[in-house]
Symmetry: C2
Subunit: 335 residues, 2 copies
């Protein structure tokens, strides 16, 4: 029995059935009774039926992300919406871009649509300067705000994070233990999460006795889809005199570019160049050899994010900050 | 001068500035005047300022897509939101999944949020059976509905499509003209667009005199991220006795799997196996050699989609159906 069958048997539109399930006042009592009768005949209670469609409570969660065409964020959206749906919640999403004012404006727009909570997907929503986070605090005065991958201490704000520092530290330590010390750290974000990853890399290098000035970092400032620009950047570094034997990337796409660079230069992987990516995304299977990469358990994090939000909305005491550990998944690009 | 500066100078919250810009009634007249005065002192009119933030009209467009983690749909969302933003429109998105009832429920949810128009991204929203499209017609009775990649003849419904039939026909003809006749068509969707692609492939093969029963089609029914499952399917076909010399894929990820399959079997590309993908996505640069692929000009299509919606909302007469032609971008996987 589907919403279509019910609309047909009751002789009303699907929208009307939806409205009955939502308890909307835009339906006459007569029509409401007719629809409910058809459901009852079919052995359904409206609640069971509506819950299946995520219409039961009509609670709607607002989601903000900077850019849905980023592989990691796209996955996060997918998992979070799936979890919310499974719990009978709807969602509306706005992709804000990386500009802070747009983020604040989008936040206000979602609130004007009467959402019951806000999810911020991605650490770029939290800024280093405290006053830049005012737009989050203003929102959290009205509804609970949950942040993926960044911590913000404030009432009614909850964070679910991956332990980027430790994951990156372990990645670097893994290469160091294999005797690889000429490691390039290749990154493309200075967000909260980006800074934690960088810190983890530096920590491992320092602890292995690599002098501060020999720790090699390369920032990539370009489109996250332009793989040729990334390999170009790596060529520049090599031509500048640094023949790196290991590369740790803050994102799989940068690691994939390193595999491409190695092929161009005729380097063997992992013998001449070992490569570790980050996120364990679908890209790890796209190149040859396949990428070793940090899996940060995004699906589990998103499950927890949704569960935390439910808990808060139900008035339960929920943890303010939860860190998930990541792990290195070894494939063909590491020894 | 930013929204932050104004909120600071006026001594009110950012949310309050937003509300003034939106003409919200939740602001006292005194506060409103104070905020407007600060703006005027800074040489801004509220309209110019608000337009920059996409708040001017507060027109909000509802967007539905099945799955934001699909590379093609993620790009479409990105382009469409960018266009809407540039025109001063906000947007709210819901990812529905592929179930028809969920799509109908999500549509109703967006309408309940008082959106001014609906964009359906992806041909999977339009079904072959006419009555299955009722949920679209019910929505279009209330607001304009625009569909990307599927045609639906109905009042207040507008379609922007890529000419999938012709693009796929040209891809097949290209290989046939190179003397390759043992072509496998590898696809993963039977949506409106999927059926048009298939039709184009068959048309080219028939016209080249390939008997109907020798036209080889393989459907892949699995995760759109599981590249190993795709190569497994190709191995099965080879083991089943069909040694294909060409492969045309309905999506780049399937073509990428073919490149991987060729490597496993020690086939040279393009000499032993020529491969053509579809969408010209970021995946084309991920493998070696790089993928030849059909570029269907998604960004232009999304621009047109947004422009059409603006036209409709402004009461102008707009074309009901616009087809964009695609083209084969040749890289290393074709002779």
């Amino acid at each position: 029995m589907t919403i279509y069958d019910i609309s047909e048997k009751a002789g009303v539109s699907i929208a009307t059935v939806s409205r009955v399930l939502n308890g909307s006042s835009r339906v006459s009592e007569k029509t409401r009774q007719k629809v409910l009768a058809v459901m009852q005949q079919a052995g359904y209670t409206p609640n069971v039926f509506a819950r299946g469609l995520g219409l039961n409570t009509m609670k709607i969660i607002g989601i903000l992300c900077a850019d849905s065409s980023d592989l990691y964020l796209a996955k996060a959206i997918y998992y979070v919406e799936k979890e919310l749906k499974a719990r009978g919640y709807g969602s509306i999403l706005n992709c804000t871009g990386y500009d802070r004012e747009r983020k604040a404006a989008a936040m206000e727009m979602l609130l004007s649509k009467k959402v019951d909570g806000i999810l911020l997907l991605g650490s770029n929503f939290v800024y280093e300067k405290e006053e830049a986070n005012r737009y989050i605090l203003e929102a959290s005065a009205r509804v609970p705000v949950l942040v993926l991958n960044a911590a913000l201490q404030a009432p009614n704000v909850y964070s679910v994070l991956t332990d980027d520092l430790r994951s990156m530290e372990e990645a670097a330590r893994f290469l160091l233990e294999k005797g690889i010390r000429d490691i390039l750290y290749f990154y493309n974000s200075e967000s909260f999460s980006g800074r934690r990853k960088l810190e983890g890399f530096r920590k491992a290098m320092r602890e292995a006795g690599v002098p501060e000035k020999e720790i090699r970092l390369q920032f990539y400032r370009g489109s996250h889809e332009d793989i040729h620009a990334m390999t170009g950047k790596l060529r520049e570094i090599y031509e500048g005199g640094f023949e790196f034997r290991g590369l740790i990337a803050a994102d799989d796409v940068l690691a994939l570019a390193a595999v491409k660079y190695a092929r161009e230069r005729g380097l063997r992987i992992p013998e001449d160049l070992a490569v570790i990516g980050y996120n364990n995304s679908m890209l790890v299977n796209c190149c040859e050899p396949e990428l070793s990469s940090i899996d940060n358990h995004l699906e589990s994090m998103c499950q927890h994010l949704a569960a935390t939000l439910m808990g808060v909305l139900e008035g339960r005491q929920m943890p303010r900050e939860v860190y998930f550990s990541g792990e290195l998944v070894k494939r063909g690009t590491t020894p």
